[in-house]
Each structure stands twice: as structure tokens, then as C-alpha cells.
């Protein structure tokens, strides 16, 4: 299995930018403060000294001098609301990186990848694509409406398929699971799934039925 990086060191990082993508979704950029990570890993983020913290996949490239996370503000979530109110110059406390949802370094240049995301589950894939320019990938992003296709210009237009379930304005009208049912996946493709539990469950089963072996299926659920 791929070795990952991990650290329990708590770091205080200065916020550099809060970038609103939709009314409820934003990108928080802050100093990297020496944190090394593998694309796909996550960090634990909160306000300095606060007990309330949440895990967020790193959205930015591993080669940039700052870190970004993609956050959807949720009604019941204290952390996502507090982080949204931050302004440049204020600080966050971060821990990590953690997690194993990473690409096998030996396969990056040789294999085809299928990334399936729902909502902010696109975050680790954004980091993959930004960190590994040589990746041969297809990204399916499942959202409700077209405006939730977060920063889609960051992806190769030929490799990014926005699946919109509530309006016919993306590349495909329907869920990502509808898309893969209509476009069966080559079992040799390495498939990475990230997002809500329902999407991951359904997509996993469909891909299994299509003959994708478990070794080619990787999933991370956003809880």
C-alpha cells in the first residue's frame, strides 16, 4: 500500500483569502506553514484554541506555497460558518495531514483514472489534477445545478463532465450514477469515488457490476 505522510503537529496558519464560489460554498486559502502532504490527504481545521474542528480534504496542489480547502457551509456546522467569517490576516489552527486516499505514484503516468465526485467531494480530485499534470483522467462531478461546478476551468474541458441533477445545463443531465450506467467503465480504469455516502454506495455497486475489480476501486465518504 502507498505510504502516506502524517503529522500530529498543530500549526497556526494565517488566512490569505476567502473565495466565495456560491452562496454557501467557498475556498479558504491560508499559509502552508511547512505542511507536507500527498494530494488526496486531509487536514483538521478550526479556529485557534477551539475544540470545534472538522476534517477537510486539501483542495490545492502539493506544489503551491499555500493550502486551500473547499468548504460548504452547512446549517448544523459551527466550523464551516466560523471559517467563512474569517478575513485575511486572521488565523486558523491546522493538524495533519491524515488519510490514505492518494494515488499510487507508480501508476500516475501509466494508468487511466476515473474520478467520481459529488458536491465538495471534488476537493481531492482538484488537488490530484493540479499536482499531477500528466494524469490521464476523466472527472465526473455530480451537482444539483450548474453553478455548483466549482472552478471547472481548472480542469481539462475534455476530461471534465458536469452531471447536473436538477437542471439540464451541465454536460450531462442526471446523476453521476446515471452517467456511468450509460457509459460503462473499462475495468482496467482506476476509479476514485469521493462524496456523500449515497453516491459512493451506488457508484461502487455499479462499477463492481461492470467488472471493475475491488483493487481498482477507492472511496472516501464525506460524513
Amino acid at each position: 500500500m502507498e505510504q502516506v505522510l502524517t503529522s500530529i503537529q498543530k500549526r497556526i496558519a494565517t488566512v490569505l483569502e476567502v473565495r466565495n464560489l456560491t452562496e454557501s460554498t467557498y475556498v479558504l486559502r491560508f499559509e502552508r506553514v511547512g505542511l507536507e502532504f500527498k494530494p488526496g490527504q486531509y487536514i483538521v481545521v478550526g479556529l485557534p484554541g477551539s475544540r470545534e474542528k472538522r476534517e477537510y480534504s486539501i483542495y490545492s496542489s502539493a506544489v503551491l506555497p499555500y493550502l486551500e480547502i473547499l468548504i460548504k457551509e452547512v446549517d448544523t456546522g459551527d466550523v464551516s460558518k466560523k471559517l467563512k467569517r474569517l478575513i485575511p490576516g486572521e488565523t486558523v489552527e491546522i493538524e495533519g495531514p491524515f488519510g490514505y486516499f492518494v494515488l499510487d505514484g507508480h501508476k500516475i503516468a501509466t494508468n487511466d483514472f476515473l474520478f467520481i465526485a459529488s458536491g465538495t467531494g471534488i476537493s481531492p480530485f482538484h488537488s490530484f489534477v493540479a499536482s499531477y499534470p500528466q494524469l490521464n483522467y476523466t472527472l465526473l462531478h455530480g451537482v444539483r445545478t450548474q453553478n455548483e461546478g466549482y472552478e471547472k476551468d481548472d480542469y481539462d474541458i475534455n476530461h471534465h463532465i458536469l452531471c447536473t441533477s436538477r437542471e439540464d445545463k451541465g454536460n450531462f443531465h442526471g446523476r453521476v450514477t446515471d452517467y456511468i450506467k450509460k457509459h460503462p467503465v473499462d475495468p482496467l480504469t482506476l476509479c476514485y469515488l469521493c462524496g456523500n455516502s449515497e453516491m459512493v454506495d451506488d457508484a461502487y455497486r455499479i462499477l463492481e457490476k461492470q467488472g471493475v475489480p475491488p483493487a481498482h476501486l477507492h472511496a472516501e465518504i464525506y460524513f
Binding site: 500500500m1 505522510l5 502524517t6 503529522s7 500530529i8 498543530k10 475544540r51 476534517e55 493538524e95 491524515f98 488519510g99 490514505y100 455516502s197 459512493v200 454506495d201 461502487y204 455497486r205 475491488p214 483493487a215 476501486l217 472511496a219 465518504i221 460524513f223
Partner: protein
């Protein structure tokens, strides 16, 4: 002045208690098993288990009633969720994170005052080094548990440990090795290295500490050069980090016990994803195959949860098939119950209790079969056994094989307790074997 200490939880909590006992004894206090004669009443608990927390509340309710009649000091520590800590602050005199044990004497001295120390939200790295430096008062003269790591960063959805004990921190290897050497030289025969994910030992130090297989290798080398006979166990490893190096090292040294505890939790990949276990059944299978290849005599133990949120009949059947395939000697099978603070506690606990229970029985029956088969295969063999105690009636002497199979044999020789004895196995049951001690019974004194 006497104190009474209750431990509610796992081996890690027991190990924590041993250090609390050292600190209290060093203050000149005397431990008593009779809570009514104690002036200080303490609990080391695991607040990730609801049953343990229920017991804490029941106990403190009683103790607080006693406080109306006599002066008492109460404290609680262990794996405590932040929410529970806040509640405990209202009912106990002192509430502290286990890392703060070195400061317990100061807190007791300030009894009656809510100290900044006891109100502080513990950070994982705060006092963990000084906590580890406390020499524990071991409950046994031949079996010892040594913490090698604190906390967990695997974030399994059914578990609250990352939120109670914080992130993984590895104890300095030199301290661990010194403790192992000292215990073995004192005559300890069974050493268990403890941690939430022992085989990710050293990962948090990013190259500045040896890794788990190297730690085992150094213990193995100590065993080889000292000529001492002892068995080294570890619990729990995480299948994700169970690499071939660990298994190869175990195969190379006799003092590294041929017993592997490899928590499966579920045999269904989708359930494993929901549990955030970070391995698939196929990867787990590879580890088991390698264990069977390199350690053919090893026993295999596991942990399984039945009825995890959303577990379907088909998914349970995948677990049953895995249990049949892996032929465990023992499974610590638990019915799923949401643990406060764990991610899964936010999900609907949708598998009926009766179904969970039924699944547990089915799995246990399957493990019973494979364990019985293994035990029967031991008949006629002569095995070294670490003698643990006499049975309740005093008729039999009880011990454990290297693979932690319970053994009983007829003997009135109490001097065997804590020593290795060769036992010829004459009969087998589902989870135990029986035999007769062979001549030249006590083995290790010549070592």
C-alpha cells in the same frame, strides 16, 4: 490515607490505571479495594463506551451521597469525550486528561479549588512525555502492558478515540526498549505493546523515530542476546499498516509471539468504506495469507462489529464468508452501538438489535468451529505454556500457550505460576485445551 481506584475500559485504560496507581502510591497513599474506607475515590474510564459512562454516573451519584457524611475527594480520568468532561466537572472534584497524570498530586493538594489544570482542555502533546516516564505499578509479576503510542488518527467512523485521546503520538523507542529490558530482567514473561494502531508506530515522527518492525526487531535482538524466554505481543494493529516487514520480523525471533490480532470489523468492502477502515477485504486477505505463509503456527484473533449502520443481510454474509475463510482462533465480536462522539453516532442505528444479536451468534458459532479444529490439531503435541493461575475451585492450573490458547492441567504446584511449563496436550474444546505437565516442568529458570 487510602484511595480506591476503579478501571472501566480496555487494556489501554488498565495500563493508564497502572500509572495512576504509581503516582498515588508515590504520594504516600495506600490503595484499598474497599471503597468505603477510602478518602480518595477515582475512576479511570472509557467514555467512548456508553456502558462505562453509565457506570461512572452511577458510582459518582453514590459517592456524592457519601460526601454529605464524610470528607471525600473524587476524580475521573481516562478516554473522556469533551462533552463528558464538561458534565464530569460538575460531579467530580477533579477531572483530568490522562496526559495530566503527573500533575495529579498538585491537583489533589489543591483539593477544593477548581484548578486551572483541571479545567484546561488537554492537548495531546502536553504532558504525554512525562506520563510515559511514570513507572507503572504492574498488577502482575509476570505479565505487563507497555504503552508505545497514544491516540489515533485513523478516524474510524464507529470510534471516538481520536476525539478522546487525540492524535497518534509515538513514545520514544529508547524508553520502550528500556522498559521491556527491565521487565524481562525482573522475570516478566509476557509483554504486550499497547497502542490504538501499534503498527503505525513512528509514522508521526516522519523519519525521526524507528518504525514498528524495527522496534520489534530490537526486542527480538534483546531476547536473542539475553537468552531470556519471554513472549512479546502487541495490540491492536491496523490492517492498513500491517506490512510484510512486521510479519518477517516476528518470524525471525522466538521472543516475538506467534499470535496476531488483526481486526477485521467487517468482511464487506462497502461496510468497510462506511467504517472508514481504509482497507478492502482483498488487502486484508493478502495480510492473512502472508501471516499463514510466514507464521504457520500463529493463531489469529480478530475484532468484528455486527449490525453496523446500514449493514444488509448480503453484507453480513460477506463477513460470515470471511470468518469462515480466515479460520480465526478467537473473535471479539461486538454488537454495534453508536458511541457518543463518533461520526456514526450521527447516523440512524437502523439494524434491529435482535438481528445484530443473531448475526453475532452466527459469527461466534463459526469462530467456535475453526477454533475447535485448530485446538484438536494440537492434541498429542507438547507445548510451552505460561502458567497464569489456579482455576476458581483450585483443582486445575490455568495457563496460556504462545498463541494465547487457554490451557488447563492438573497440578497442585503453585510455584509454577508466572513460569513456563511444558504441557502435553491430551484434549481439546472449542476455546481451550487440556493436558498434562511433562517432567522437568519449569522451563525457564535455566534461561
Amino acid at each position: 490515607m487510602k484511595y480506591h481506584l476503579i478501571t472501566l475500559g480496555c487494556q489501554m485504560n488498565l495500563s493508564d490505571s497502572e500509572r495512576v496507581i504509581t503516582v498515588l502510591n508515590d504520594m504516600g497513599l495506600t490503595r484499598t479495594e474497599d471503597e468505603e474506607e477510602a478518602s480518595i475515590l477515582g475512576i479511570v474510564a472509557c467514555s467512548v463506551r456508553q456502558k462505562a459512562i453509565d457506570k461512572v454516573y452511577s458510582r459518582i451519584y453514590k459517592w456524592n451521597k457519601w460526601k454529605r457524611k464524610k470528607p471525600l475527594l473524587t476524580f475521573v480520568s481516562g478516554c473522556i469525550l469533551p462533552a463528558d468532561k464538561e458534565k464530569f466537572l460538575k460531579t467530580f472534584d477533579i477531572v483530568f486528561h490522562m496526559n495530566e497524570v503527573p500533575a495529579l498530586p498538585e491537583m489533589i493538594k489543591q483539593y477544593g479549588i477548581v484548578t486551572p489544570m483541571s479545567l484546561q482542555i488537554a492537548t495531546n502533546e502536553s504532558n504525554i512525555d512525562s506520563f510515559w516516564k511514570i513507572s507503572p505499578k504492574h498488577n502482575s509479576s509476570f505479565e505487563a502492558y507497555i504503552p508505545i503510542q497514544n491516540g489515533c488518527d485513523k478516524f474510524c467512523t464507529f470510534c471516538a478515540v481520536p476525539y478522546t485521546r487525540g492524535r497518534e503520538v509515538s513514545r520514544p523507542s529508547e524508553e520502550i526498549l528500556t522498559e521491556v529490558r527491565n521487565l524481562v530482567l525482573q522475570g516478566y514473561k509476557s509483554i504486550t505493546l499497547l497502542g490504538q494502531n501499534v503498527n503505525s508506530y513512528g509514522f508521526d515522527k516522519n523519519g525521526k523515530e524507528i518504525q514498528f518492525h524495527e522496534l520489534l526487531m530490537q526486542i527480538g535482538e534483546f531476547g536473542r542476546t539475553s537468552g531470556k524466554q519471554f513472549w512479546t505481543y502487541f495490540t491492536s494493529p491496523h490492517p492498513r499498516d500491517m506490512n510484510k516487514e512486521v510479519i518477517d520480523v516476528i518470524a525471525s525471533y522466538p521472543v516475538l509471539a506467534k499470535q496476531i490480532h488483526l481486526p477485521l470489523q467487517s468482511g464487506d468492502n462497502m461496510v468497510l468504506i462506511h467504517m472508514n477502515r481504509k482497507y478492502k477485504l482483498e488487502e486484508y486477505r493478502e495480510v492473512v495469507h502472508y501471516v499463514r505463509e510466514k507464521l504457520p503456527t500463529a493463531t489469529l484473533f480478530t475484532d468484528i462489529i455486527t449490525g453496523f449502520t446500514g449493514e444488509t443481510e448480503e453484507q453480513f454474509m460477506n463477513t460470515l464468508r470471511a470468518v469462515t475463510e480466515f479460520k480465526y482462533n478467537m473473535s471479539f465480536t461486538a454488537i454495534y452501538s453508536p458511541r457518543p462522539g463518533a461520526v456514526s453516532s450521527r447516523w440512524i442505528d437502523d439494524v434491529p438489535h435482535q438481528v445484530k444479536k443473531q448475526r453475532l451468534h452466527i459469527l461466534n458459532d463459526e469462530v467456535e468451529k475453526s477454533s475447535f479444529e485448530y485446538n484438536k490439531s494440537l492434541m498429542g503435541k507438547t507445548l510451552p505454556v505460561l502458567v497464569i493461575n489456579k482455576d476458581r475451585k483450585g483443582e486445575y492450573t490455568m495457563g496460556l500457550t504462545e498463541g494465547k490458547i487457554n490451557v488447563r492441567f492438573l497440578s497442585s504446584n503453585e510455584s509454577m505460576i508466572g513460569k513456563f511449563v511444558n504441557v502435553k496436550i491430551t484434549s481439546a474444546a472449542e476455546f481451550s485445551i487440556a493436558g498434562e505437565p511433562v517432567l522437568a516442568e519449569i522451563l525457564e529458570e535455566s534461561k
